[in-house]
Symmetry: C2
Subunit: 347 residues, 2 copies
DNA sequence: CGACCGCCCTAGATCGATCCAATCACGGTG
DNA sequence: CACCGTGATTGGATCGATCTAGGGCGGTCG
C-alpha cells in the first residue's frame, strides 16, 4: 500500500510516516529499515546511509504503540505520585522525581505517574501491570512497611525500591537507599569538630525504623568520641511545634550547645525556640537538620543539613532496573549511598 | 490458538490473558468481549453478564499497546518536567503536577514526564509527538515567551497551556491561567481593611509580564481606595537577598506599614529585614507573599500569601484536553481562575 | 567444479485489540 | 409463507513494528 500524499518539509503530516513508507522510498524492505534503526551493524554501510537519509527526509520515528505491542515492552517506568501533603516530607520526593526523570531519559525510559491513596496501596499498580502499560515500577513509600513490595514480588513484577525493607527479613527485591545513620554521624562529628561536647538529638518516635537508624548515627559518634548521650535525646512527632517544645525542654534540663535533628522540620522548631529565647543560631547554639529542604535554606539563617544524594539514588535505581529488565543476574540486592553535609550558618 | 496453560487464581500468569482467551472461555467472539468492555449497551444483558464474569475470573485487562496501536491513542499526557532548580519557583510546579496526575486519572489519562533543558525547548516534545507516544501535552513554561506553544500549534499537536500567551496576540491555542492581578488586589484590599494606608510593592523587573500583571493589581486597588503608590514600589530580582534590600530602602525612605510582594521569595527577604531591625511581622509591619509555598508557612511566623488554585487549574486543563481530543468545538480559548488569600500571622 | 558458508537482505507471520461489513435470529407485516 | 427490519453477534482485515525463516550472491575449500 503506497502512500502518495505530499509531505511538506516543515509541518508534520496528518499521519506520521511508517516503516513501510521509508522502506518504499529507500527501495529496501521494511525489515531493513527496522534494522537500520535497531541493529545498524547488520547493514552494509552504503545501505545504512541511504536508509538513514530517507528516515531523516521523512522525519520518521518508530510508532511507539506498534513497537510496544510487538516487543512487549513500553519503555515506561511507573511511579506512584502520592497526593500532596502539606509538609516537608515530599519536598525530597519531588527532587527525587526530577532526578529519576533525567536518569531514565539517559537510557531511553520515560516516567509514568499515577495517583494512589494510602488506603489502597495496590490499586494503581495492579491496573498498570495487568494492562502491560509499564515495564517496571519504582516504589518509594517503603516506610509504610510496604505491602506494595510484597505484592509486586509475588506478582513477579519488576521493580526497584527506594528505601530498605526494614522489617521484612525475607524480602528478596532490589533496593537503593541512603545511609541515614552515616549522615547523622557526619553531622555529629562536624559539631564535635567545632568543639561541641553536649550535643542533643531530636528524633522521631521509636516505631520509625528510619528514625531509629538516624538516631544510631548520633549515638555511635558520640560514644566513639567519649561523649555522653544520656538526657540529651528526645523523640517527638515530626512537626515544627514538637521540635520547638523538645528544644525548650532540652535547653532547660540538659544545657546542650548543639542540636542534631532527624528532619529539617524539627530543626525549624529548634530555630524557633532559639529565636524566642534570643539565642543566635550558629553562634550561641548550633543546629543541624536532615533533608536539605528548601524550607530551611534561607531564613533566618541558612540551616546546616544532611543532604541525600538523590541524583545518585535515581541513577542507581535506573541501573538496577535495566539489569532487572535485561534479565541479567542480580549482582547486589541492595545499594546504600552516603549522604553529604550541606554546611551553612547554623553550625 | 487456544491457550491451555493452567492459571492460578491468585498469581498473575507469565503472559496475561488476552481478549481471545476470554472469548473462548465465555463462548463468544472476540468482538463481543471487546464490546463488553467498550460498548456494553450493544450486548444483551445476559451475554454481558457472562462475559463480565469471565473477565473477572481471568483477571483480564486490555493490553494497552494493542489498544493504542489500533485506536491511535495512548491515554497519556506529556508534561515536561524541567530540571530542579534551587528556588521557590518549582514548589508550585510540584503541587500542580500532583493535581494534574489526579485530575487526569479521573478521566482515564496518565501523566508522562519527560526532561528538557531550556536550551532546546522543542526537543522532548518532538520525539514524543512523532512517535505518537502521547495524546497531548500540557505546557507549563509559558513565561519564556513559549516557543513550545508556537511550535506545537504549527504541528497541529493537541496541547493546553498553563499560562496566558502574554506577548503573542496571534496565539490561538487553549490556555488556563490564574489571575495574578486579582490575587494581589485581594491581598492589597486585605491590608487596607486592616487599616494600612501606606502599602509598599516589591515586584520583579519590568520585562516580566507576569510581574507587571501582579503589580497592576496593587496599583488598581490602591487607587480605587484613594491611596498613594508613588515612592512605594520597587522592582528587583526574585531572590531573598534582593527582597531584603528593597524592604530596607523602602522602610527608610517611604515608611510603609505593609508590604505586598510578587513572590514568597521576596516576602522572605522582607521578613529577614524586619527580623534584623527587630520589627515584629504582623504587628509592627504586615507582609503578604505570593504562591503559598511551604517555605514560608512555618517560620518565624506564618506568612500570609496568595494561593493559586492549582487543583482547579489542573481540572480545567484536563477538561480542555478532553474537548480538544474529542474534537469538540472549542467553547472558550482561555480560562482565568481566581486565587485565594491564605491569611496567617504576618498580616 | 560443485557443495558450503557468511553476509545482506526480503517476505510472511505475529503481537492483541478494534474497525468494518456481513451474518444470524426473530418477531412483525403484507 | 415469503419478506423485511432491527438488534445481537461474528469473522476477517487492520494498525505498524519486529521475529523467524529463508533466499540471493560471492567467495572458499575439498
Amino acid at each position: 500500500m503506497a502512500r502518495s500524499e505530499h509531505r511538506s518539509g516543515s509541518t508534520l503530516p496528518v499521519t506520521p510516516p511508517t516503516l513501510a513508507d521509508v522502506a518504499e522510498r529507500a527501495g529496501v524492505s521494511r525489515q531493513t529499515v527496522s534494522n537500520a534503526v535497531n541493529n545498524p551493524d547488520l547493514l552494509r554501510p552504503d545501505t545504512l546511509e541511504r536508509v538513514r537519509q530517507t528516515i531523516a527526509e521523512l522525519g520518521y520515528s518508530p510508532n511507539r504503540a506498534a513497537r510496544n505491542l510487538r516487543t512487549r515492552t513500553s519503555s515506561l517506568i511507573g511511579l506512584r505520585f502520592a497526593p500532596a501533603q502539606e509538609g516537608t516530607a515530599n519536598a525530597a520526593m519531588d527532587r527525587f522525581v526530577h532526578s529519576l526523570v533525567e536518569a531514565s531519559e539517559e537510557v531511553g525510559y520515560h516516567v509514568l505517574l499515577f495517583p494512589g491513596d494510602d488506603d489502597d496501596p495496590i490499586g494503581g499498580y495492579e491496573n498498570l501491570l495487568r494492562s502491560t502499560a509499564v515495564d517496571a515500577f519504582v516504589v518509594t513509600d517503603t516506610y509504610l512497611g510496604n505491602p506494595q513490595a510484597a505484592w509486586l514480588s509475588q506478582q513477579r513484577a519488576p521493580f526497584v525500591a527506594f528505601g530498605r525493607p526494614w522489617d521484612d527479613e525475607g524480602a528478596r527485591h532490589v533496593w537503593v537507599d541512603v545511609d541515614g545513620a552515616a549522615g547523622i554521624a557526619l553531622a555529629t562529628q562536624h559539631l564535635i569538630d567545632r568543639g561541641h561536647t553536649r550535643i542533643a538529638w531530636i528524633g522521631w518516635r521509636k516505631d520509625s525504623p528510619i528514625g531509629e537508624d538516624r538516631r544510631s548515627g548520633w549515638v555511635r559518634t558520640m560514644h566513639a568520641n567519649g561523649l555522653p548521650t544520656t538526657g540529651l535525646a528526645s523523640r517527638v512527632e515530626d512537626v515544627v511545634h514538637s521540635g520547638a517544645e523538645a528544644a525548650a525542654v532540652l535547653l532547660d534540663e540538659s544545657a546542650p550547645t548543639a542540636f542534631v535533628c532527624a528532619s529539617d522540620t524539627l530543626a525549624m522548631g529548634v530555630l524557633h525556640t532559639l529565636w524566642i529565647r534570643q539565642l543566635a543560631p550558629g553562634k550561641d547554639i548550633a543546629v543541624v537538620g536532615f533533608d536539605d529542604s528548601q524550607v530551611a535554606q534561607v531564613f533566618p539563617v541558612g540551616l546546616t543539613s544532611v543532604r541525600q544524594p538523590l541524583e545518585d539514588v535515581a541513577v542507581e535505581i535506573v541501573r538496577a532496573l535495566r539489569a532487572l529488565l535485561s534479565h541479567q543476574p542480580v549482582e547486589t540486592r541492595g545499594v546504600l549511598l552516603e549522604p553529604t553535609l550541606a554546611i551553612r550558618e547554623s553550625s
